[in-house]
Symmetry: C2
Subunit: 288 residues, 2 copies
């Protein structure tokens, strides 16, 4: 799976480089800053999920390229703004200085804005007949009833005790919304039926939860080297996590439960979803 | 003209209220923050320009509503982020505390992000057959080769002496791009021909320059009460302005020159552009 993923990452990176070129003009520093964070070693999970979903319906990278790169830009802008001093105040990400440490806070704010804006510029290059509908899903999933909404509730719950339902609400928006839209957009662009889109959405919703719980577990059990961030950093920040609320054993059970649900939703596609099932298995059993 | 404008502002405000409703959910503070800045007394220049351009071609507010409100949201998000401590560090705008003073820096960053995102959510509600093309113009005009590009160059030129050409470059992007896209999008949505769109673009390009020079002159000659910000605040910040580079007399001549060019571009529309000509005249001879 590692080889298969790294081949796909290369394809995604090539398109990102093509769709976010460096300009040589008075504002060129903004391209430096945008490209710095885009090429900081992301796993390209969302673009690959979009691509693999489209493949269930016989479509390839070309079908999703613009929307997939747009989604990765939105994910990246959210990380730049999350790291700002007024937000999580992080100096390092994936072993590199964060955007505001490298370029200054003013350029980092604008680089985040610019990546969100660029996401729509790039998505609007799509000539897919279902692009308008796909763009609606993209915009809604990254907004106040999606990712941004999750960031707001997360900010406000820091340092407070919350219930499991509150934690699930935060994650369903903050990380879940983009994972869902990745898969749903892949299905829409590939011309899937409403019933098929629903099945994909059910898969992605459960994958997102399982993925997040695994993330929380890894923060406690993984090695700093594997993770690229200090172990126990969530605990140190007094963050609400599945492990803090349920313990490791229950969290492992939940990962299992949600990944089973995710796999089950794919059953209507038969062998067509084989790679997506393997990918799901890999993601929820990963150690970094 | 004041009455005619205030009637239009009411129409724009009603649509903004409808398209950016308050939600009662765990992230409701983000809607408070977005609405606080959206309803902070803006003149709605961009939506009105879009509307009036569409009227040349016989179309009304319904034709441009979604894109016009989207553009106003983009303008507003840029003000919120511009006011942040890491940017211009302004505590007051239009006589009210700025967004980060009222809601805190973290929520203000997210409210800006959310308004940019919401702009696309709202624009994508348009059912106009030319909406896709209009969205492309919208996204390009607010990005790194438009408004954000202008902000970057402006930031980098602060405290430095620049040439008139450099100042014009900054303004053509920072404020000019959205004024141009307001008019061009109005023409596109109204089904104008390529030749007509070009004439509108030429009008808007020159209007944008004249409008900006008037702004710079007013910062020196206006009264604080009329402007809603301290007089001479540009000078105090050592900002590059037309007045600083050319003096008041030359600046007045330039306003006149560019507004003549703007009016001339509208001549192909005959009487149809009467209101837009009156509006242009009003905007460049305003005292606040």
């Amino acid at each position: 799976m590692k080889n298969e993923l790294s081949e796909r990452i290369t394809v995604v990176d090539t398109s990102l480089d093509e769709l976010l070129p460096q300009y040589d003009n008075p504002q060129s520093v903004i391209y430096d800053a945008m490209r710095y964070s885009i090429f900081a070693g992301g796993k390209r999970l969302r673009p690959i999920l979009m691509w693999e979903t489209a493949r269930i319906f016989g479509k390839e990278w070309d079908c999703v390229k613009e929307l997939a790169c747009a989604l990765e830009m939105i994910h990246t802008y959210s990380l730049i703004h999350d790291d700002l001093p007024a937000m999580d105040d992080d100096d390092m990400r994936r072993g590199m200085p964060t955007n505001h440490i490298k370029f200054g806070e003013d350029i980092a704010i604008l680089a985040g804005d610019a990546l969100l804006n660029k996401a729509f510029e790039v998505a609007l290059l799509s000539k897919n007949p279902n692009a308008y509908k796909a763009l609606q899903v993209l915009a809604n999933s990254s907004g106040t009833e999606g990712m941004i909404g999750g960031q707001v509730v997360d900010l406000q719950s820091e340092g407070k005790d919350i219930e499991l339902s509150g934690l699930q609400y935060i994650h369903s928006l903050k990380t879940g919304a983009l994972i869902r839209s990745a898969c749903v957009i892949g299905a829409i662009l590939a011309g899937a039926s409403e019933k098929e889109i629903s099945a994909i959405d059910e898969f992605a919703k459960n994958l997102g939860i399982a993925f997040q719980i695994r993330d929380d577990i890894l923060d406690v059990t993984g090695s700093a080297d594997e993770l690229g961030k200090p172990i126990g950093s969530d605990e140190e920040c007094d963050k609400n996590t599945y492990v803090k609320l349920c313990g490791i054993e229950k969290s492992e059970m939940l990962v299992n439960e949600y990944s089973q649900k995710a796999m089950k939703a794919l059953s209507i596609f038969g062998n067509g979803a084989d790679f997506l099932i393997k990918l799901t298995d890999y993601l929820i059993n990963r150690n970094n």
